[in-house]
Symmetry: C2
Subunit: 695 residues, 2 copies
C-alpha cells in the first residue's frame, strides 16, 4: 500500500474528501437528469454510473501527544486505528505513529469524510480505496491489500458544507418589461437570455408558465420546449433557460414575479478580457463571454434550454474557451471526470465515437494549459480502459469504424455526407488519441510503472501512414472524406472497400489542427479545400470553431475578422443575447428558431457558439503555453485588420496582458517565461516586467 | 431490440420490476453492512457494487380499446409511447399497437416500476436496459439501440409493496429463564440460538446489553462479540444472534424484555424431512435444519453472530442443503446474484480464488436441481466476464495460482499446509469451472449465439490432463497437494517449480467429487488418503461436508453414521442448539468458544455445520435429479446401519417420499420419472404411484 503522508502538499486545512471522480459522477446524474421536455424528465440515453457505495479512507499519523478529532461523515462509518476497529464515537488518537482508517457507506450520495484535529486533517494527502481486500485468518492475523488512490477533494472546507449539499450561487433578477397579452395572461421579458428559477409570490390556484428563448416560443404554449404547470403541491419551478416568460392564470393568481439567476462564481481579477477598435467585435466578445458564463455550471453544459447534458465534443471547446476566459480548471476536471464515468465501458462517450476521441484530447489540452500532472495520473487508469474499448472495435487495418450502436457525429450538415464506413475525420481523431496516450504514458510512468507508451506510439505511427496512403489525393490536394463498402457497381465487387470521392472541410482542417498534414499539404489544403467555395460550407458554430482556427494558423486573421463580423455579427443583428447552436444567414424570421423538426428546437444559448473567445485570445492577443501550465509561453499578437487590440489571458496563477496597435506591442505577465514574437522579432518576456516593442 | 411480448409466460398479474440483479446487489449492501463488531459497523473488504441508477423499462402492447393504467415508480420517471415523451401524469394508452417506455432514475434504491391496467401489467415479459443508446439527429429522427434484457421481478405484487420496503417476517419470543447476576444486572436465556431484535419496554436512562451465543460470552462484557449501549436517541437494537442476553442498567431501567425473532418464511408442505431409528441422528437432523433456517435470510448467511456476510464457499453448501430442506430457489438466485455483483471484476468473489470457482459450480447445481435455464441465461454475461478475469490470471501453463491480492482459503487447518504456489485443489476447482462454462454455453447458445462452448472445453480437457500429469503419484496413489517454487535446495535451481510431497484430503476428495479421478483412482484414494489415519484430519464442518459425501459415494454410509454421531453428536453433547463453525472433539469447556484469537470468536451457528441435511437426503434417502429439475431422478436409499429411515425431499413442484427398513423400500413422488435403485434392482417410479419393493 503506497501510504505516505505527504503533509504540506495537501495543505493544513481540513476539507471533505471522497473517492476521486465519485462526487462528479453523482452530481452529473443530478445535472443531466434535470433536463426536461415540456415538463417530462429527460435523462441521457447512455449509462449513468454511480459512486462507490463503500470506501475506506486512510492516512498515517505521527502524534507527539494524544489528539482529539472531530469526525463528520456522509454515510454510516467505522473507525479503525492500526487495523483495530474502535467503538462508536471514538475520537481520541493516542500519541505515537498510527494508521487511521475510516470506512464509510452511503447508497444515496458519495461516501465522504471530514476530520479535523490539532494536526490531523482530511485532505488530498489521504488515500482511499473501494476494496481494502484485507482478510483475517483463523488466528486473527490480517493479510492482503487493495489498491489505494489519493482522495478527491475540492473546496468543501467546513464540517457544515458536505459535498452532497453543493449548489451554485444565485441572485435575484426582475423582468425588464412586461406586456399584457390578454386577461390573466402576461408576457415578461428579462431583457436577455437568463438561467435559473422563476419565483411567483403568493401563488393561488393553477398557474401555467411557458418559457421562451424567443418571444414567439414563450407565446406558443403548444410548442414551447419548457413549461411549468404550477398548482397546489407543485409550486417550485425547476431551473430553466429563457428570456421571455408567458404566465397564464385563468384559474389562479400571483402577486409578483422575479427569478433566482443561478451561476457559477468566478474571479473577475483572474479572467480574460478583450477590447479592440471595432465595437461590433467587442459586442461579439461580450456576448460570447456571457454565453460561456451561462453554460459554465456544475459542469460545462452544451445548451442551457434544451440539451442540458454534458457532451464531450461541446465540452472540449468550452474548456479551450475557458482557458481564455475564467480559467476555471475545477469545472474542466469535473466535466472530464463526469463524461468518463466508470468501467466497464459499454459505449462511446455520449455514445459518439468522435466524442470519445475529443475526451482524450481534452486531457492533453488540460495538461498543456494547467501543468497539472496529478489529474493525468488520476485519469490514467480510465484512459487505458477506454482506449482498450476503442481498440477492441477497430478494423483489421487498425481504423475506427462506427459499429451499429455507435453514433458518428462529425457535425450537423445540410448536404449529403457519409457518416458510415471508414471516415478520414475519425482516423485523424484516433491518431491524435493514440498520440495523447503516448504522451500521457510518459507523463505518468514515474509512479505508474506499467504505463507503456510504446504500444500506443507504434499504433499512432502506423495509423498516420495509413491515413495518408488511404485518403490523401495528390490530384485533389486534399484528404477524401471516406472509404466505404462498394454497392453493386460497375468496377467493384460488392463488399469491396472503395474510396468515396467526396471532399469535405472536416478531415482537411483536422489534418492541419492535429498535425497530420505537413507544411506543404497544409498550404495545398488551404487553397483546395478551406478557401474553395465549391466545398460545402460549415453552418454550425461548432465546426466554425475549428475552421476559424485553421484560418488563423494560416495567418488569415483579417479574413477571420470579416467572418466573425458576418457570422456572429449576423446573430447579433438577429437580436441574439447569447450565441446559437446553429446559424444559417440565409434564413429569416422564425426559421432561425427551428431545429430537430421542432419550431423552437434550436438552442439560442449554446457553448460552442462562444468560439470568438478562444480565437481572439489565442490568435489575436496570440497567447498560448509552450510548456505545460505556462511555465513557458509565447505571445504572437495579430491585429487581424483592426486598428488596435488589447486584452488579457489568465494563466494558472496569474495573467498575461497584451496590447497592440500598428506601432507598438506591449506585454506584461505575472508568471512564466515568454517570448513575444512579431514578424522577425522574438523578445524574451520576464515576469512582472512590462515589455514594449516597436513595429 | 429483441422485443416480443411473451404474454402468458410472465403471468397476467402485475408485479414490481427492476433491472435483474439490481435488487439483490442493493439489498446485499444493506445485508452485509449490518455486521457489527462490538458496536462498530463492519462492511466487507471487497467492492460493494450498486444498482444502475437510471434504467428504461419497455414492452409492446396491442390494445383493442384505449386503456388507463396505474403507474407506480420507485424514483423519478418519464413515460414515452412509441418513442414520444408524454406529459407528466399521462396514464391513458390509445388503442392499437404501441411501444411503451418508462425511464426511471433513483440513486438510493433500485429504480423499479409497477404498471397495472386492464391488460397491461409489468412482469418478467418486459424488457429493461441501462442505456437505450437512442439518439436523435438534427431532423428529429431516432437512431441506435441498446441491449435489453428481461426485467427482474419476484413477489412484490402490490403497488404498496415496492421492493425497497422488503423485509423478512418476525414473531415475538420471550426468554425461557432469567438469572439475577447482581443488582441491576440480569442474564436472560432464550433457550436456544435465536436471531432478531431485542425489545426492552419502557426504557429509561442508559442500558447496556451484552449478547452471547454462550452464557460465558454474554457475561463477559469486555470480550463478547456483539453489544448495544441503549440511551436516549438510540433505543432500537439492530438484529443480533444470541441465546443469552446480559442486561445491565446501573443508570437506567426497563420493564419487560422480549425479542422479535426474524426469519425467512418457508412452506412446511414443501420441505424435506428425515426420521430414523436412531434418536441422536434425528436430533442432529433437527438441529441441522434449525441451523439452516437461522442462516437462510435475505441471502444465505455464513454465521449469524459475527460474519453476517454472504460467502460463496459457504453458500454453495447452503444451496445444496436447501435443495433437501426448503427448496427456496429464490434465496439461491438472490445469493448467487449478490455474490457476483457487477463488472468490472476487480477481485475474486469474497477475494477468495476457490470461492470464485464454487460460484460457477453453484449455477450448475442450481440448474440441475431446478431446471431453470432462464437464470443461467441471466447470469451468462457475468459468468463470461468473471471467467475472463480468472483466465487473465492463470499461469503460462493454464493453472490458477494465487496472486498477491488473492486469498487462497481451502479450509481452516491446524497443521502446516501450503496455500501458495500451485495447489492441486484449486486446479480441480478450475477444471470444474471450465466444464461448467462448457455446459452452460451449450444451454444458452440458442438465444445467445456468441456463447461458445468449445474454447472452454479445450481448456478443461487440457487442464484435466495436466493435473493428472503434475500431481498424481502412482507411488502414493494420491494427488500431491502443491507444486511450489523451490527454495535454495540441493537438487533444484532457485525458482524452479517442484512438487511438494505433502498429501492432504482436499485435492483427493475433490478429485472424486468433481469427476477427475477415474474408478481405479477413486478406490486407491479412498485407501491411501481418505481412510488413512496418517493423513491430517479435517476439523471444520465445512470440509467434512465434502469428506462425508466422498465416503457416501464410496458406499460407506455405515461409517458416515458413526462419524455424524461422533462429530455432530459431539456438538450436541456440548450443548449445541445450532451447529458450529468448527469443532475439535479434543477441546474442552470454553476452548470450544474461541477462534480468530478471540475468546468468543467462533460462530456457534454456522451454515456449513448443517451438512447432515444434505448427506441424509442425498445418500440415505438417496434422492437426486438425473435430468435437470427432477424431470428424471433416481432414488438409491441406504440404511447406513440404521434399523429404518424415512423422509421426503422437495422437488421443484412437488415431493419425493422414501421409507426403508431391512425388508422393504417404499417411494412416492408427485412429479418426474424416477428409478428406484437398490442392489441389483432398478424399478421405474411413476408420478403419484406409490411403489414398494422387497429387499
Amino acid at each position: 500500500m503506497p501510504l505516505a503522508n505527504r503533509r504540506g502538499e495537501g495543505g493544513e486545512a481540513p476539507t471533505w474528501i471522497w473517492y476521486p471522480g465519485d462526487f462528479e459522477i453523482w452530481l452529473g446524474n443530478i445535472f443531466n437528469n434535470r433536463r426536461t421536455e415540456r415538463g417530462a424528465m429527460f435523462p441521457p440515453f447512455w449509462k449513468q454510473d454511480s459512486h462507490y457505495v463503500t470506501v475506506e479512507f486512510t492516512t498515517n499519523v505521527e502524534l507527539e501527544e494524544d489528539e482529539i478529532i472531530i469526525i463528520k461523515a456522509e454515510g454510516q462509518y467505522n473507525f479503525a486505528i492500526d487495523g483495530q476497529l474502535k467503538p462508536p464515537y471514538t475520537n481520541c488518537i493516542p500519541k505515537g505513529g498510527h494508521k487511521l482508517s475510516f470506512k464509510v457507506w452511503n447508497q444515496a450520495t458519495p461516501p465522504a469524510l471530514f476530520i479535523s484535529g490539532k494536526t490531523i486533517h482530511t485532505n488530498s494527502t489521504w488515500f482511499v480505496t473501494y476494496e481494502d481486500k484485507i482478510w483475517i485468518d483463523e488466528n486473527g492475523v490480517a493479510h492482503g491489500s487493495g489498491i489505494y488512490v489519493s482522495a478527491g477533494s475540492w473546496n468543501f472546507n467546513s464540517p457544515d458544507t458536505p459535498p452532497s449539499q453543493y449548489r451554485l450561487e444565485r441572485r435575484e433578477l426582475r423582468p425588464v418589461s412586461k406586456e399584457q397579452i390578454a386577461t390573466a395572461h402576461t408576457l415578461y421579458d428579462f431583457g436577455r437570455e437568463v438561467f435559473g428559477y422563476l419565483k411567483l409570490s403568493n401563488q393561488e390556484g393553477h398557474i401555467d408558465v411557458y418559457y421562451g428563448e424567443s418571444r414567439e416560443e414563450a407565446l406558443d404554449s403548444e410548442h414551447c420546449e419548457t413549461l411549468d404547470h404550477l398548482c397546489p403541491g407543485h409550486r417550485e419551478p425547476g431551473s430553466k433557460a429563457f428570456r421571455y416568460v408567458s404566465v397564464r392564470c385563468d384559474n389562479g393568481s400571483y402577486d409578483d414575479i422575479l427569478m433566482d439567476y443561478e451561476f457559477a462564481p468566478f474571479n473577475p481579477a483572474h479572467s480574460g478580457a478583450f477590447r479592440c477598435s471595432d465595437d461590433e467585435l467587442n459586442r461579439i466578445w461580450d456576448v460570447a463571454a456571457y454565453t460561456m458564463d451561462l453554460t459554465t455550471r456544475e459542469f460545462f453544459m452544451d445548451g442551457i434550454k434544451r440539451d442540458r447534458w454534458t457532451w464531450s465534443g461541446d465540452a472540449i471547446q468550452s474548456y479551450l474557451m475557458n482557458y481564455y476566459l475564467r480559467f476555471d480548471k475545477e469545472c474542466v476536471k469535473r466535466t472530464i471526470r463526469q463524461l468518463r464515468g466508470k468501467d466497464p465501458v459499454t459505449a462511446h462517450i455520449n455514445t459518439i465515437m468522435d466524442y470519445t476521441f475529443y475526451w482524450f484530447k481534452s486531457i492533453l489540452d488540460y495538461y498543456e494549459y494547467t501543468g497539472d500532472v496529478a489529474f493525468v495520473r488520476e485519469m490514467w487508469p480510465r484512459m487505458v480502459t477506454l482506449m482498450d474499448y476503442v481498440l477492441s472495435r477497430t478494423s483489421s487495418t487498425g481504423m475506427a469504424e462506427g459499429q451499429p450502436d455507435d453514433w458518428i457525429f462529425v457535425d450537423w450538415v445540410d448536404f449529403p455526407m457519409h457518416k458510415r464506413g471508414t471516415l478520414c475525420f475519425e482516423q485523424i481523431l484516433l491518431m491524435k488519441t493514440l498520440e495523447t496516450m503516448t504522451l500521457c504514458a510518459n507523463l505518468v510512468n514515474d509512479t505508474i510503472p506499467n504505463a507503456d507508451a510504446s504500444c500506443y506510439r507504434v499504433k499512432a505511427d502506423e495509423l498516420r501512414n495509413k491515413i495518408n496512403q488511404t485518403f490523401w489525393s495528390d490530384e485533389k490536394k486534399a484528404y477524401f472524406h471516406a472509404i466505404e463498402m462498394a454497392e453493386q457497381h460497375a468496377n467493384h465487387q460488392a463488399g469491396e472497400q472503395v474510396v468515396n470521392k467526396q471532399i469535405t472541410k472536416f478531415p482537411n482542417m483536422f489534418a492541419i489542427l492535429y498535425g497530420l498534414a505537413d507544411e506543404e499539404q497544409r498550404r495545398e489544403i488551404m487553397q483546395s479545400v478551406m478557401l474553395n467555395p465549391d466545398i460545402p460550407a460549415i453552418t454550425t458554430p461548432y465546426m466554425r470553431f475549428y475552421e476559424l482556427e485553421t484560418l488563423c494558423i494560416d495567418g488569415r486573421q483579417e479574413q477571420v475578422t470579416d467572418e466573425m463580423k458576418a457570422y456572429w455579427g449576423g446573430m447579433l443583428r438577429e437580436g441574439a443575447t447569447s450565441f446559437w447552436e446553429k446559424y444559417i444567414p440565409s434564413e429569416t424570421g422564425t426559421q432561425h428558431l427551428a431545429m430537430y423538426g421542432r419550431p423552437y428546437g434550436k438552442s439560442l444559448c449554446h457553448a460552442w457558439g462562444a468560439s470568438p473567445i478562444y480565437i481572439l485570445g489565442k490568435y489575436y492577443l496570440g497567447v498560448r503555453p509552450t510548456k505545460p501550465g505556462y511555465e513557458e509561453y509565447e505571445v504572437r499578437p495579430n491585429l487581424g485588420g483592426l486598428e488596435w487590440i488589447k486584452g488579457s489571458v489568465p494563466t494558472p496563477h496569474g495573467m498575461i496582458s497584451v496590447s497592440m496597435d500598428r506601432h507598438h506591442v506591449t506585454v506584461r505577465a505575472t508568471e512564466g517565461t515568454g517570448w513575444l514574437i512579431v514578424g522577425d522579432q522574438r523578445v524574451r518576456i520576464e515576469p512582472d516586467n512590462e515589455l514594449t516593442i516597436s513595429l
